[in-house]
Amino acid sequence: MKNKNWLSVAVVVGILLLWQGVAMIINAHYILPSPIQIVKKIWELKENLFLVQMPATLKVTVIGLAISIVLGLGLAVWMDECPALEKALYPVIVATQTIPTTAIAPLFVLWFGYSIWSKVLVTVLMTFFPIAITVFDGFKSTKREMEELLTTYGASKRDLFWKLKLPTALPSFFSAIKMAIPLSVIGAAIAEWLGAQEGLGYFSKRMMTQLDGAGVFAPIVILSAIAMLTVFIITKIEEKWITWRKD
């Protein structure tokens, strides 16, 4: 385990060095800023980036993710309870996954203006369905024999849900969250890129118009860092909680 960690650190360092080298050779910061230039830029703009833009984006992300989790779980439970609904909705949901969000996001700006809700909607759209489907598949992976065993104990539908289906789907729930976090960050950033007055995505776009390469990259680096850190934390929580999984 320790060894693997070192290996991945080495790979990251290698890539950064390569990037730095190539950037220095090209020597055109508006096309490819070097990692050092980006870090410098983040430091220069730290107050604006961390105190103004990042909170705005986080707000969208958190609200969007929360809505997606509630709706996604709700839909998963509902489809599991009601096979007719599953038949009707499941294919539709899978199909909606092929819609390029970037293409319809401007529509939301049209509808909701520059308010936070146009951005939240994009985030929800990107994360809701993956959550619903992953958790639903988790419910479906419930072992029939276990269900039957509980039934012979006299279990009600409620018992079956709380004592069997929910614990069975718990790992799927974690997978869903881990998948949804980066998506929600991307969703928020895209929405801000398309139309907003604050946020990391908006900031990145503004820097673009000024041909400030490092300024374009700086917010993106922060976005990635947020996503990675959050996924890391969730993974740790998962490891603490789901100790029973077979090795």
Partner: protein, 249 residues
């Protein structure tokens, strides 16, 4: 007493009948084994008793009442141990009690007593993956007992175990039964196991099942593995193996 009366059953997915006009009885407090070839319908008999399947015709009675009017009269231990991996051993044992809405304090007390009974007291807070096959089987058996039912339906509980563990658990099961005298229906396809454990062996020969051939086992209790060496038991064993199609290819 458990009684099948002219039970006919067929799985909806199948195009053949599983059993037809099947009648048999199991007396209160008896240890009865059912043996038969793989896929002959032994587990199906259990599914009919515990209500997971309904017969197309005929009826099943327990203590003289049709089972459709009863609940919780049988305790089913399925072929796989089916311990819930996310629950500790103690929490697994508590499952039938939780579902029976037994108060928490009483649950705990019953679980502790049962863990002691099956020799797993030290494993209350361990997860099933930390147990050996034999321990898992004992835990599953303990969970079955905690349903509180007097009719135990044990579906090949030992078939996945190595032979030494299996022998140890057979002896252990007999001791438990000699102490509590529940009615036990025990499915196995191990002829020797059936003879060693039961008062009576029921053999499935035909498909659809129309009758169960009964062989009484006149061995005294408490039992001893040495008893299996008696000439009449050896003879019975050979006879059953031959009739079940063993020994020929």
């Amino acid at each position: 007493m458990l009684e099948f009366q002219n039970v006919t059953f067929q799985y909806a997915e199948d195009d053949y009948q599983m059993m037809k006009d099947l009648s048999f009885q199991v007396e209160e407090g008896a240890f009865v084994s059912i043996i038969g070839a793989s896929g002959c319908g032994k587990s199906t008999i259990f599914r009919l008793i515990n209500g997971l399947e309904q017969p197309q015709s005929g009826q099943i009675f327990y203590d003289g009442k049709p089972i459709s009017s009863l609940s919780h009269f049988s305790a089913y231990m399925p072929q796989k141990d089916l311990l819930f991996p996310w629950r500790t051993v103690g929490q697994n044992l508590a499952l039938p009690l939780e579902i029976g809405r037994v108060p928490k304090a009483e649950q705990q007390q019953k679980v502790r007593a049962m863990l002691k009974e099956v020799g797993l007291s030290d494993y209350e807070n361990r997860y099933p993956k930390e147990l050996s096959g034999g321990m898992r089987q004992r835990a599953a058996f303990a969970r079955t007992l905690l349903t509180g039912s007097r009719l135990l339906l044990l579906d090949e509980p030992f078939s996945a175990l190595d032979s030494l563990t299996k022998i140890a658990l057979q002896q252990w099961l007999l001791q438990e039964w000699e102490k509590y005298r529940q009615t036990v229906l025990f499915v196995t396809h191990d002829v020797e196991e059936a003879i060693f454990l039961s008062d009576r062996v029921l053999v499935v020969y035909d498909r659809p099942i129309t009758h169960l051939e009964a062989y009484p086992i006149p061995l005294p209790h408490p039992r001893n593995r040495e008893d299996l060496k008696r000439p009449d038991m050896q003879e019975l064993k050979e006879k059953l193996i031959k009739e079940l199609g063993g020994g020929s290819l």
